[in-house]
Amino acid sequence: MYVYDSFDHAFVRDRNAEFADQVARRLSGELSEDQFKPLRLMNGLYLQLHAYMLRIAVPYGVLSSKQVRKLAHIARTYDRDFGHFTTRQNLQFNWIKLADTPKILEELAEVEMHALQTSGNCIRNTTTDQFAGAARDEHEDPRPWAELIRQWSSNHPEFTFLPRKFKIAITGADRDRAAVRVHDIGLHAKPEGFDLYVGGGLGRTPSLGHRIKTGLKGEQLLSYLEACLRVYNRYGRRDNSYKARIKILVAALGPDEYARQVEEEWESLDKAAIDAPAAEIVRIRSFFPDPDFKDAKFDRVAYERAQTADKAFARWVKNNTLAHKRDDHVSVTISLKPVGLPPGDASSAQMDVMADVAEQYAYSELRVSHEQNVILPHVPKADLYALYTRLDAANLSTANGGKITDMIACPGLDYCSLANARSIPLAQDISQRFADANLTDKIGDLQIKISGCINACGHHHVGHIGILGVDKQGIEFYQILLGGRADENAALGVITGKGLPAEAVPAAIERVVQLYLQLRTSDSERFIDAVERLGRNTFAEALHEPA
């Protein structure tokens, strides 16, 4: 993974000193809360329902064992012993003291981490494919490009006070695991250059990005992004924060006109002053080699015997591992969705275990997925059973990768000051209803995504089943959406009628799932395929049928 040089270290040090100074001025009263708020947000510090929340950047979701140990240490020392992995491949702590943040940032800097630009109206952490560098269908590793963008966007003098937040996603594989079409800018690396999508997003006005450029050369990526951002910074709406995202500008101008303005701006830019030279791209790429793959002798017979002997292990292998570009390795999903517990939470002890097993079995490399799980991208098959045993002892072996209980849920009203309704207890109730692993295996791939308000941090629009919390005179209600997907065939789910009270949701979902099991043509017809074949209405009726 990328290793800081003295420049990168100096930058984070300077930036942390700046923030420490801002905190001190806030505490002394020199800065008002109104003035301080955007400054603290630019450092990932929110004031939530119960306390400050600190969102730590995990650049493009990549972590080392050493970094995960540091996160565990922070959870233990400064928080209440757990952290929450988010759908933006970041990590949040829920009970942070303002006065402690400079110290925490110093600790993070020791392991080349920070909380910069994890909130605020600036360019946020670039997200990418959690299987980058390991997946079989990848033709371009997106991580070096994400790192290039990270550096270019850090403290960008022109784009720190944009109309609204700005999220970039990038993928380099056939299958789009980074959901590039639901980001402000989505980049899809192809052999002939990047396809660039603009104006996608969820939230109040969900939309899919429009492709405005193909064949963009990597050496010109930054200047083109600069042109895209400049048009947005100048003309994005600032009168109404709900209409300030780039998707609204693109919709108002039309994608063609937006593209024309970008091209015009791009022509006027001094590209040589903006684009990093090829040598810099080569330098960044050099940090993302394959690990030194162990040529451990893989004993297929023993591996198969272990699966026969241990059914739980067999299930875990089937659901939580993905084919690797090398036959003797796999990528492993460590599910943070044990039945009945908050999706995405990990205790400090669990973080330590993940760091340890990554060190021992996975070349010290971990990833955060937008599904709120932790990924070990490269694991020798020979070590799989030993790894599984260690995870199992730490309650980290839930074998539900991609299944109905592998839900995404935002923090919702249990933590979030913007929420209308709780998300986590609902996720817990649903997962309890589908606690039977034989049943979830039979159901197969089905993604439920829950947001506690229209901001859609839980990506409910692109869940096969999406759930949106709304507030009806102080009572929590949930609207159910059907038919969304975030992959290369991205589609937005559609609301299916009246909202349901929390108690009614798990049963409603169960009815839909039972109907799907009756109607599917074979085991290989996934839920989303059946919804697309039969139409949403077929299933919507089951949702709202009286129990």
């Binding site: 040089d5 420049f7 990168d8 100096a10 930058f11 300077d14 930036r15 000193a17 700046e18 801002q22 001025r25 002394s28 009263g29 020199e30 800065l31 008002s32 003035q35 955007p38 400054l39 109206n121 550096q151 270019w152 966007s153 850090s154 403290n155 960008h156 003098p157 022109e158 784009f159 720190t160 006070f161 944009l162 400049r230 910074n233 100048r234 600032r238 006027s268 830019l269 001094d270 002053a273 903006i274 990093a276 030279p277 040598a279 810099e280 330098r283």
Partner: protein, 171 residues
């Protein structure tokens, strides 16, 4: 509890940390230009009248004004005031960068809600004067200039992006 820093009367300070008097008068749109210049004209008025005017003017540019429209008259402009009605409105940064990219070499002054924490960004975008609300504007400029030693992007100032430094060192 100390006093809110932004409650101090704004003072005009230059990139070099010099406090300077403001010799300019902002003309309301209906006011006629007398002999007591120099004057700052509103943006729309400037577009209408600059063609027929002689001499040198300052122009007030608000967020949303397309500063490129001033380019035909740039020879007559020696000051551009870029206003920040609220400090979260970042359009002024693009305005300044475009002016510098287009070769404008006169003064670019930040006015409005200009606070110490923005000065670093403004310096990088090509501003040269700051009407800043701060108890110690000179120190604020000095702090903004020394805060960072590393710059990841090329911008309107003379700081070289880190990629340029990396690859000069190597070659």
């Amino acid at each position: 509890m100390s006093l809110l820093n932004s409650s101090h009367t704004p003072q005009l300070v230059t990139t070099d940390g010099e406090i300077i008097p403001d010799g300019w008068t902002l003309l309301a749109d209906e006011e006629t230009t007398g002999v007591d210049g120099p004057y700052v004209l509103g943006f729309d008025r400037a577009l209408k009248e600059l063609d027929g005017l002689n001499g040198h003017y300052g122009i007030r540019v608000n967020p949303g004004d397309d500063v490129r429209l001033l380019l035909p008259f740039i020879e007559k402009i020696t000051l551009i005031e870029v206003s920040f009605p609220g400090y979260r409105d970042g359009r002024g940064y693009s305005t300044a960068r475009i002016l510098r990219e287009e070769g404008y070499t006169g003064a670019i002054r930040a006015v409005g809600d200009v606070l110490r924490d923005q000065l670093f960004l403004m310096l990088r975008c090509g501003f040269s004067e700051f009407l800043v609300k701060d108890k110690d504007p000179v120190q604020a400029i000095a702090a903004a200039k020394s805060r960072f030693s590393v710059f990841y992007q090329g911008a309107a100032d003379t700081n070289r992006p880190v990629w340029a430094l990396r690859h000069t060192v190597e070659s």
